[in-house]
């Protein structure tokens, strides 16, 4: 049993960026392994990072995975054109059976939500999700995740488990940049009778003409605004200061603003955003993960303990209505 197996993720012909982050996470674990071998606990040759790409045309993705720190890429050809839980369970299960890795890394993503827990249950794997740090303590694998709305960190271990499956949080590990020439191997995935079948992808659209992806300055409102009648006031403020009005998930779910205005992981990616003012957004992890790339995050919240203060550059603890009113006067 040895090494780290990374399961790369692709969708609609494109490698998902988190796949590369998993390689860095694997490298960090490998260097922890290296320390172990230095202590004579294991042989260095077992400390490999293997990346598997499971797709109907896995070869399309090989070049983007030829990165420093990858020892081997396994091309796993499957019938399903897009993600399907049964296909992935069978393919990853077969890879684990053949390679017997110590650790398997998948992304903490919507796709892995669909099969990772089932795989862990069936194969008796050690298992933790939303992991943002993993290492070795006295030789034993320890993974760190958040708890209680990110107010605590939780370290978990996996006593007695030969293989541990970790779902790694996106936007934590920096993807490797240097190219390399890892070994390429083909792997025959077991034939699977899938019990679900994907029909089509649907892009989120609306009659609202806002383009969150292009917005450089976004002012977002969250649960803290209390009721729908208060949305207008913040729309007016956003217009006055020259910001695009965005919202967190609960506001879109309630129908107070169209879904196209939602930012965060499942909402539109606010990829061009440079200044982000969040008013009354407590900061669910999915929301924070979707905004982590923004250079300047300003959080305005009445709760000094709100998670969003953990990622913000500037924090304003106070009443969002009072501050909005004062701010409006200045523009």
């Amino acid at each position: 049993m040895s090494g780290v197996l990374v399961i790369a993720e692709q969708r609609r012909g494109e490698l998902r960026p988190v796949s590369l982050e998993l390689i860095s996470a694997a490298q960090e674990l490998q260097s922890a392994e290296g320390q172990r071998s230095a202590e004579g606990l294991r042989s260095a040759e077992g400390d490999t990072v293997t990346v598997a790409i499971i797709a109907s045309s896995p070869h399309l993705f090989l070049d983007s995975l030829k990165l420093a720190g990858v020892d081997e890429i396994i091309a796993v050809k499957v019938a399903a054109a897009e993600f399907d839980p049964d296909t992935f369970e069978a393919a990853v299960g077969a890879l684990i059976a053949e390679r017997k890795p110590d650790v398997v890394l998948v992304a903490h993503s919507v796709d892995s939500f669909g099969y990772a827990a089932a795989l862990a249950a069936k194969l008796n794997l050690g298992f933790a999700t939303d992991v943002f740090k993993a290492g070795r303590v006295d030789g034993a694998l320890v993974a760190t995740r958040g708890g209680y709305g990110q107010k605590v960190n939780v370290e978990v271990d996996f006593p007695g488990r030969d293989t541990v499956l970790l779902a790694i949080r996106a936007n934590v590990f920096k993807p490797p940049e240097q190219a390399a020439a890892p070994k390429i191997t083909e792997f025959a995935a077991p034939a699977t009778a899938s019990r679900s079948s994907g029909r089509e992808f649907i892009e989120l659209s609306s009659n609202d003409d806002v383009d969150m992806a292009a917005a450089e300055f976004i002012l977002t409102i969250g649960r803290g605004i209390g009721e729908e009648a208060n949305v207008a006031q913040f729309k007016e403020l956003a217009d006055a200061v020259g910001a695009t009005l965005g919202c967190s998930r609960p506001i879109a779910d309630a129908g107070w603003l169209p879904k196209s205005r939602q930012v965060g992981q499942s909402g539109k990616t606010a990829s061009a955003c440079k200044l982000y003012i969040a008013m009354g957004v407590s900061g669910a992890i999915q929301h924070l993960a979707g905004m982590k790339h923004v250079a300047t995050i300003v959080a305005v919240n009445s709760d000094a303990g709100a998670s969003i203060f953990g990622v913000a550059k500037y924090g304003v603890v106070g009443d969002i209505f009072e501050i909005a009113e004062e701010l409006r006067r200045l523009f």
Binding site: S109, A117, L204, T269, K274, T296, A299, G310
Partner: protein
């Protein structure tokens, strides 16, 4: 026809909470308990299906938890669940989501529902694992993060959309019975009426033990879990630079940040 819904009473933290002496959880007195937000949506989805179905549909909620979860189960009864089951045994303490799923699967085997719903995740430990692990123990088809659903009770298949990252949806057809994990926003959960709250208070909650489900101590708790909490600690807070002063002063500084940005951007 029957729909089984796995629910959890979650905990949020009181301000200025403290970590337990053994360092593995937060002290009980700082936990504020409520029904998991996601479960409110999966219950509503089942109740909606029941209300629009021409055949009778029974909506059953189940939780693997100590007595304190009765509060959340009664909330479910008030919002339209027909029956509530709670499974508990001291050995369940310390179970991870996979061990909980083993118990839920045993309940599903005895209840034989046509469909099983769970929330995408619980708001307190956010594993996003329990529902899908339950499906594995049942050997059922499964799908995660369902944000719209077209299902008639007893049908051999259902069509749903799963909500992917970045504002993308994926429409999928699945064989039934299946386990679906339900996303926020799939519907608008109702409020319970005073009358239904009163009625719920009088309804029984069926309490089962591990033995009732032919499970043993080894299936749950630490031996049955796939991870173990080693340590819980309060992380170093991020370095948000606090803008002090009254609202007017704070707004002044905010305006300055906005103007500086616009200067840069221009």
């Amino acid at each position: 026809m029957k729909i089984l819904i796995a629910v959890k009473q979650v905990a949020a933290l009181d301000e200025d909470f403290e970590i337990r002496e053994d360092g593995r959880d937060v002290k009980e007195e700082f936990l504020i308990r409520d029904l998991n937000e996601w479960d409110d949506y999966s219950l509503e989805e089942a109740v909606k299906i029941k209300e629009t179905s021409s055949d009778p549909v029974e909506v059953v909620v189940v939780s693997v938890a100590a007595e304190e979860a009765d509060e959340s189960l009664r909330k479910c009864l008030a919002k339209g669940a027909d029956r509530a089951i709670r499974v508990w045994d001291e050995g369940v303490e310390g179970s991870d989501p996979v061990a909980i799923a083993r118990v839920l699967a045993a309940v599903a085997k005895s209840e034989r529902p046509d469909m099983l719903f769970a929330g995408v995740q619980s708001s307190d430990q956010t594993f996003a694992a329990t529902g899908i692990a339950t499906a594995a123990f049942l050997g059922w088809p499964h799908a995660a993060v369902v944000s719209s659903l077209d299902y008639s009770p007893g049908a051999k298949s259902a069509v749903f959309r799963r909500e992917l990252e970045g504002g993308l949806l994926h429409e999928v057809e699945i064989q039934c019975p299946a386990v679906l994990t339900i996303q926020l926003g799939i519907n608008t959960p109702r409020y319970a009426s005073l009358r239904s709250i009163k009625q719920a208070a009088a309804k029984p909650i069926e309490v089962k033990t591990l033995a009732d489900l032919a499970l043993s101590a080894g299936d749950v708790g630490e031996p049955g879990s796939h991870s173990r909490v080693r340590r819980m600690y309060i992380p170093d807070k991020g370095q948000a630079q606090l803008i002090e002063g009254d609202a007017a002063a704070q707004a002044q500084r905010l305006a300055q940040i906005i103007r500086e940005f616009k200067g840069d951007a221009a």
